[in-house]
């Protein structure tokens, strides 16, 4: 599920972008020695494969009219190893943003973390642990299935966490979290089924691909696998439980104000008099009041506003913008008209 | 009896705005072998897609008496079967058997009937021993034959083929010619190899820039050297 700009605050966006950039930079540096020339084309094409693969849909049972498709993070992690898969899926996420406008520029950090880094590593680790190097198809299939469900879930859980940290939504954290977990359990299940089925096909026609023998595949040692998995579980578990248990009423702490508690002080108070004056100005003339309008005063403010002037400021703003746009459009139209007969 | 294909005033533009077909009118009786000829980018492949209902433009396309629309599409697909340009696109199942059984299974036949169909189709194209092979282990000529078998097993009345002669050596091409000539079905073949078209078709339709330029007896059209060179083609050696 693509995170959107609008569900983030600038600090959260900047933070996640920094984490994603650092992570990707680290991986790119780490694999630079092992990436042989022949990996470059392979990685790019498998990225394109993810897009093309998403077009192959199939009917889901019991849900007429819906169809599933594969995302492919775990499949790529199994075939390419986690580092290369993380790079490939990250580039897929970047292209989704830059070409298909899925998820915004600011949300890119979140999306890389949720959809590329976490699924690639989590999926790969689980797969490695379950299969333990064995090529028995039962183990491969169970491993892939678990890896898909957990990888998809792990990424999905992060979405409400990030949104809650940003504090843009009013949807209670627990509701959002439970919805995401529920929906993505199904998504992960479908992903798991199709990944297992594709692995079955590959074992039949190109078993070398499944058996870790794609030349130059970057692998991790078993202890690294376990250690990272433990750390990862602790971070996710701790983060989620902290957010869910400590703040039962939906992370209101992150808001500057508590409408249900009129006495609640803003987390950030500013005593600069100019800012206070602007604040005051804003709250008095606010047509579309921000949360900074005290709920207790709201009725009052609204009554004051009714029929008085402040509505006109925003009216002027919107009308001015609309007129400007119309003027721009008209100018462009006239210019084009004038160009086309001569051209 | 209804015509095999009737197209009235059909036009189609790709999403990027390329007009691939422009007011096409065409009608074809059952049992004929039609060659769609034209230079690269003429619109041959698109016309074949339109006949099978894969692209939806303006105008009417009627296949064996059924107009193409959502309701009829399934019935039409059982009567008109298309064989794509690249056999690798057509052969995606792990074994040849699965691939050839795919269509009949979808038609709801019993397992015995399906097996019989697969056997017949393989025999027609001469691949009986290959039944358990994976498609990517077949040679170029065998892949082409297998792709045709996947379509034959559905026993359609009409078969469309897109450049079936591509990347085949002369012997394989002759084998394919013989196979296609022996099929009783109505065949519609898009190709820019004039020798192939001349050897197989009794009727030719010359397409260029999305329009039908000429339509008539294959020999007559293909021996008109002015017409052919004007549209990037050549008079086939066998006619000249």
């Amino acid at each position: 599920m693509h995170m959107a700009n609008e569900l983030l605050s600038v600090p959260v966006a900047a933070g996640t972008l920094a984490i994603a950039a650092a992570g990707l930079g680290f991986i790119c540096r780490k694999v630079r020695q092992v990436i042989t020339a022949d990996k470059l084309a392979l990685m790019g094409i498998l990225g394109a494969f993810v897009f093309a693969g998403q077009m192959v849909n199939f009917q889901l049972p019991a849900m007429p009219g819906t169809s599933g498709h594969m995302v492919g993070a775990v499949l790529l992690a199994i075939v390419l190893g986690p580092h290369l898969a993380a790079i490939v899926i990250s580039s897929v996420v970047i292209v989704q943003c830059l070409i298909f406008q899925d998820g915004g520029l600011l949300a890119l950090g979140c999306n890389i973390i949720n959809m590329a880094l976490v699924p690639a590593y989590a999926g790969y680790f689980l797969y490695r642990i379950v299969t333990a190097g064995s090529a028995s198809s039962l183990r491969v299939h169970i491993g892939a299935m678990i890896a898909c469900v957990v990888a998809v879930e792990a990424g999905a859980i992060l979405v409400p966490v990030q949104a809650a940290l940003a504090g843009v939504l009013v949807v209670p954290f627990s509701t959002f979290l439970i919805t995401m977990i529920g929906v993505h359990f199904l998504v992960g299940l479908v992903e798991g089924l199709i990944t297992v089925a594709v692995l079955g096909y590959l074992q039949q026609v190109r078993s070398d691909l499944v058996l870790h023998s794609l030349p130059g595949k970057v692998r991790l040692s078993k202890s690294a696998v376990l250690a990272t998995l433990v750390v990862f579980t602790i971070i996710i578990g701790a983060g989620v439980s902290l957010l869910a248990s400590g703040l039962p009423d939906g992370l209101e702490w992150s808001y500057a104000e508590r409408p249900d508690e009129p006495d609640f002080e803003p987390a950030v108070s500013n005593d600069d008099s100019r800012i206070a004056a602007v604040d005051d100005f804003q709250s008095r003339y606010s047509v579309m009041p921000d949360y900074s309008v005290r709920a207790s005063k709201l009725g009052q403010v609204a009554e004051q506003q009714a029929g008085s002037s402040p509505g006109w400021t925003s009216f002027a703003g919107v009308m001015g913008s609309v007129i400007t746009m119309a003027a721009i459009w008209l100018t462009a139209w006239i210019l084009r008209k004038r160009q086309s007969p001569t051209a | 009896m209804a015509k095999a294909i009737e197209i009235e005033n059909f036009s189609y533009a790709y999403p990027d705005g390329t007009v691939a077909l422009d007011k096409i009118n065409l009608s074809l009786e059952h049992g004929r072998k039609l060659a769609l000829i034209g230079p690269n980018g003429a619109g041959k492949s698109t016309l074949l897609l339109a006949m099978a209902g894969f692209v939806k433009g303006t105008g009417r396309v009627v296949v064996d008496g059924l107009e193409i629309n959502r309701k009829n599409l399934k019935k039409i697909r059982a009567r008109l079967c298309s064989c794509l340009e690249n056999p690798d696109d057509q052969l995606f199942m792990p074994t040849l058997f699965d691939d050839i059984a795919f269509g009949p299974l979808n038609m709801g036949l019993t397992p015995e009937e399906v097996k019989a169909r697969v056997g017949d189709a393989l025999q027609t194209v001469g691949l009986t021993e290959m039944v358990d092979k994976a498609p990517h282990h077949l040679s170029a000529g065998q892949k082409r034959a297998a792709a045709i078998a996947t379509v034959l097993s559905m026993a359609p009345k009409i078969i469309t083929l897109d450049e079936p002669d591509g990347s085949l050596d002369p012997r394989n091409r002759n084998n394919l010619l013989k196979l296609l000539a022996s099929l009783p079905q109505t065949l519609i073949i898009a190709t820019c190899n004039m020798n192939f078209a001349a050897a197989l078709a009794d009727r030719a339709v010359l397409v260029d820039k999305g329009r039908i330029i000429a339509d008539g007896d294959a020999k007559e059209i293909m021996s008109d050297s002015k017409l052919m060179t004007e549209h990037g083609l050549e008079v086939p050696g066998t006619i000249r």
Binding site: M1, H2, A4, E6, V31, A37, A41, L42, G44, I45, L46, A48, F49, F51, V56, N57, F58, L75, I87, S90, I94, V95, I99, Q101, D102, L105, L106, L169, V171, L193, I194, G200, V205, V287, M288, D290, A295, L298, G299, S308, G311, S314, G317, S321, T324, M325, W329, A332 | P15, D16, S82, L84, D89, L91, F92, G103, L105, N106, H136, T150
Partner: protein, 258 residues
């Protein structure tokens, strides 16, 4: 999904298309950050911000209908979350707009802000990507510090999206042509897996061919490209104009409209 829409307008020519990709990218990034950081319930100011992407789109001759369609296409997730706001925040508020005034809840205003911000930032992103060729954007991003491995990777990805989407289309057509009824979930899954698997195997084969093509052209593992990026006077003017526009909105208009 069809690839005809992917770079439909990036190959046109207009003053906006000719701007340097780095300048455009940074301007759009800063613009997005500014819009996102606007207060959570301010809708009218968004109209002023919308002038920027609108001007770019019109100036670059990108049809507005295309932009709107594109925005609509990617909106479902945001739409669901935005529409859930009114359910959870029912604090009443009065909205005055010129001669009119309504009673609403803060939840609704949040919902409108989220959707408004979404529209404005998305149109800015669309203005960026439909006026910039992807490879120019990549070259720009590389100059801005994107790791080289990722740049190369993205270049290949972009190039082969078109090839593989065509292949996927053909495979889908082959299935569609022979699929006359549903065979049940198990068979459907098996068939989809076979299609994906064969696409995957062919992708790997293609990669092998590309390797040969690369080595045949003296590729030795070191990636060399000629950058043809160039910052010109027009880019400075554009950057200045964008900075003035954003600063003006921030300093002058925002406090008044609040």
């Amino acid at each position: 999904m069809h690839h005809a829409h992917i770079d439909k307008f990036a190959y046109q020519d207009s003053p906006v298309h000719r701007l340097d990709s780095r300048v455009k990218f940074i301007v759009v990034l800063v613009f997005t950050a500014m819009v996102v950081s606007l207060p959570r319930t301010s809708v009218s100011i968004l109209a002023c911000y919308a002038v920027g992407p609108f001007a770019l789109l019109v100036w670059a001759k990108i049809p507005l209908r295309f932009a709107f369609k594109q925005i609509l296409l990617v909106s479902p997730f945001v739409l669901v979350l935005a529409l859930s706001c009114p359910l959870y925040d029912r604090t009443p508020a009065t909205v005055a707009f010129g001669p009119f005034s309504w009673r609403l809840t803060l939840g609704w205003m949040r919902c409108f802000t989220i959707l408004g911000k979404f529209t404005v930032t998305m149109s800015a992103l669309i203005a960026l990507v439909s006026t910039t060729r992807f490879n120019d954007l990549l070259a720009g991003l590389q100059r801005l510090g994107l790791p080289k491995v990722l740049v190369i990777q993205l270049g290949f990805l972009y190039r082969y999206i078109f090839v593989l989407i065509d292949r996927a289309h053909h495979i889908l057509q082959a299935r569609q042509g022979r699929k006359l009824r549903s065979l049940g979930f198990k068979a459907e899954l098996r068939i989809a897996a076979a299609m994906l698997g064969s696409l995957f195997v062919r992708s790997i084969d293609t990669a092998e061919h590309i390797n040969i093509a690369m080595q045949a052209r003296a590729f030795d593992g070191k990636w060399r490209t000629l950058s043809r990026l160039q910052i010109r006077a027009a880019d400075y003017i554009f950057a200045l104009a964008a900075a003035l526009f954003m600063a003006g909105l921030y300093l002058l208009v925002k406090p008044v409209l609040q």
